[in-house]
Amino acid sequence: MDKPVIKGNTITVPSKLDHLADVDLFIEGILRGYGTDESLIADIAISVSELVNNAVSHGNQGESDKIVSVSIEKTNGSVSIAVTDEGGGFNPGEIANPVADENLLKDVGRGIFIVNSLMDTVETKKSDKGTTVVITKSLQ
């Protein structure tokens, strides 16, 4: 795969950070179609960008022949977004607390913390094929 592919409410991109903007454009467009508040769109877009960054850099470990797919679904006043990579996932317990005094000046390690803060739920599912992180946020 060398360019993004959109099928319904799913975008699949080559595992490169160059495609963060493609995913953002796709997700923000769908959220606007739902009539979502702009501030909420930004919170969701920030969270999706964190997950895609992690999927490319950690899940797929920078291997650009792999893919990342992002699906969005609206149910009962909430939006649910699934970000899937082809990697083995990670243990959230291994991530240092980014707001601890000793970590405050580190330039990395805040992504998942921000997602957990901005979203209502964050769930990780692992399978033989890869790892999916599903986030949900109420649109009301």
Partner: protein
Amino acid sequence: MKLSDRTQDGIVVLSPSGKIMGGPDASLLNDKLHQCIESDQKKIVVDLAGVEWMNSTGLGILISSYTTLRNNGGELKLANVTDKIHSLLVITKLVSVFEAHDSVDEAVGAFGQG
């Protein structure tokens, strides 16, 4: 993301705009900040008025520049922090690290008061 830069009263003012989310765009700001440091321009204001949002990559660029400048006798201040970015700084407790001002003029002026 786009980036413009100028000098005001001897202080470098960098004005990114759009979204700072990682990838090739984000390296524009990172590269420019580190170019300034390498060319001995160590007093920098980052004007965030035009930034729609940033994620942890953007925060990481700001923190990296803040610490590099501070370790080399320089300083980085923020101006025009939007509500969205302010809330991220609060969530991550970085609000206690950065000095933020309501305008570029105020941020530039604050360098003379140190």
